[in-house]
Amino acid sequence: MLVSKLIRCSVVLGTAVMAIASWSASGSQARAEDVIRFGAPLPLTGPLAPEGIKQQQGYDLWAEQANKAGGISVGGKKYKVEIVYADYQSNTPRAVQTTEQMITQDNINFLFGAFGSGAAKAASTVSEKYKVPTIAAAASSSQVYDQGYKYLFGTFTPNDTLTTPLTQIIKAKAPEVKKVAILARNDLFPLAIAQEMEKSAKANGLEVVYFEKYAIGTLDHSATLSQIKSLDPQWIFVTGYINDLLLVRKQMVDQELKAPVVTMIAGPAYQDFIESAGQTADNITSASWWHPAERYEGKDIFGTTENFVKLFHDKYKSDPDYGQASAAVCGALFQIAIERAGSLDRDKVRDELAKLDVVTFWGPVKFGPNGQINSLEPPVFQIQGSKPVVLFPQAIKQGELKLGVN
């Protein structure tokens, strides 16, 4: 009886103490002198966790490389790089809260944007208010950049830069393709890019015979796929995250749904997709903002694309995809801007970012007036023989389009 009372009291006291501690404590300890702190709010748990972890890998690789070289040079003095992570649990409002917390409590100098267009846009309001330069590593929707903000930059070009070259290649190399079926996940990026695809298809004279959205967490697509099969399209375009695409691909094989061209965004860019799908991944086309096969001679800390891929491979034992590369290039771009500004003054760094015109391992980087990059030529690629082969742009083309997906 007494014991249970004691337990209860201690539980309450314990939680009360923790509650009080939470209000008074702040995240950071006394900081070392010559350190530049970058805030990185990421979805480390929740549905976006796989993507969040990829970003973390990119940031960490950059920080490691920068510190190996002694740090970032600011007006002659070397400053070490420190990245402060916080988990916003794949929840957009928490992303906003985390961003504010990092600025006010954790004393970060600069910010990496939250993952995805929605969270990046929401959190950018805070970073703009506090005038903290932010580079978003994974925000492609142009709506993110339409608020006239001066402190927000992004390394993904708008969605239509992925669908337009793709449609043009298909139209040129596969003239027998007349009907397109589009299946999109009902989520920000997958739906947005599917809508771009619809526009692109119509603009190029293709008939969109099917356009449907599937709910997040759908376990079974068999009815949808049977319907698509009955419409007999020559091009099947599916968007979603890697698990959705694996499932759809498997069920396509199950139902014996074949077509000359099958495009999936954004799974095939990932190594896990190719490994898990095995032979069924063959001849699937896709597009993304970057590909390890690219060959740029960068002026950033990583230098050539090949070097970046090699460094990544050494550290993580796998090839980087565009998510990790984008995160790393955000760090590299900050480094260039800070070194050019010669100071940690946020406005000066911001101005340097705005006038950047430099080639990096990610590609040529120049930000448009709204902060979104406009200098990239996103590659279109196809999986051939379990390996991604770049079809576009011409400069890094590795092979020709192959038709027929079984």
């Binding site: 539980v11 009360a16 504010e100 929605g118 920000l188």
Partner: protein, 311 residues
């Protein structure tokens, strides 16, 4: 007015003094705390007083968020949008309540849970109106400085909290409140003595929904971007329940204290246990339920006030 209700008002008055001691971030936490308190207090009306375990809080939170968001996008002023959401949800919940509250126990819990799912999917599919899965961008309600913004939303949420608290106090002192307690104890008997259970339950459900919707609306204006999975999140239904259980079922003061304590815990856990914070939260929930089934209230006021009756 009972001692506990007086204490509640005093707590709220103390909360209003927060801007004197904290900066913008503290105000942000304060706004969240007020919001959680609104959810917990509102839930208490249907869950604590009437004894119906409702999981529909998230449904009305999302409803309010989207209703206000859509109205703001159409150019309506903030106050009006929130007011419209409040009234709309009062009516909607009242009507739904008349239908759903015919169910009891587990079945009611599940029906209220599915309400969240139905509304979420409806919003998801009305892409033209709500942006569907792509989310809704909401224009900035005020374009001024950081502190002014933070103060505005803090006091806005606080005002809603005060309104909710007054509503709850009024209900518990009124015939409605008494009727709800009768319904919780024995609905059949209550019906037999002439109490119009359906009417009372519907009103309770409506009241439990309207301030939640208003809070959702203010929240949407605060964060500028909402999407269906964010606002129709089942956690917005579960957290108020945990908070109320922590504080003491049936007691408004308990609900508010539970909400503040829960927020404090959440902040501590979230900051310090990045990888395992939801697990730690789970452990806290389990520990609280097993060790403290009657909530904090039963501990402190044991001597001068009877334990809040649990369902």
């Amino acid at each position: 007015m009972t001692r506990a209700n007086l204490a509640l008002l005093i707590v709220l008055a103390c909360l209003a003094a927060l801007p004197l001691v904290g900066g913008a971030y503290a105000l942000r936490l304060g706004t969240m705390a007020s919001m959680y308190a609104i959810l917990a207090l509102s839930w208490n009306v249907v869950g604590g007083l009437a004894g119906y375990p409702s999981f529909a809080t998230a449904a009305f939170f999302g409803f309010g968020a989207y209703a206000t968001g859509v109205l703001l996008n159409a150019g309506a002023p903030l106050m009006l949008s929130i007011l419209v959401s409040l009234v709309a949800s009062l009516v909607l919940a009242g009507l739904l309540g008349a239908v759903l509250l015919r169910l009891r126990g587990h079945y009611f819990a599940i029906a209220s849970l599915s309400l969240v799912g139905v509304l979420r999917e409806l919003v998801n599919n009305a892409t033209d109106l709500t942006g569907g899965g792509m989310g809704l961008n909401i224009p900035l309600a005020s374009g001024s400085s950081i502190m002014a913004d933070a103060l505005f939303f803090f006091y806005g949420m606080w005002a809603l909290l005060l309104a909710t608290a007054l509503m709850v106090i009024a209900v518990s002192a009124s015939k409605l409140g008494f009727g709800l307690v009768c319904i919780r104890q024995n609905e059949t008997a209550a019906n037999m003595i002439g109490l119009n259970a359906t009417l009372y339950k519907s009103i309770a459900f409506g009241l439990s929904a309207c301030f939640v919707s208003a809070a959702g609306g203010l929240y949407a204006a605060w964060v500028h971007y909402i999407d269906p999975s964010d606002v129709f999140d089942i956690l917005y239904s579960v957290k108020p329940i945990v908070m109320t259980l922590m504080g003491g079922l049936g007691s408004p003061l308990g609900a508010v204290c539970g909400a503040f304590l829960y927020l404090g815990l959440e902040e501590v856990v979230w900051r310090n246990y990045i990888q395992i914070h939801s697990g730690v939260l789970g452990v806290l929930i389990v520990a609280l339920l097993l060790l403290l089934p009657h909530g904090l209230i039963s501990l402190r006021f044991r001597n001068f006030w009877r334990k809040a009756k649990h369902v």
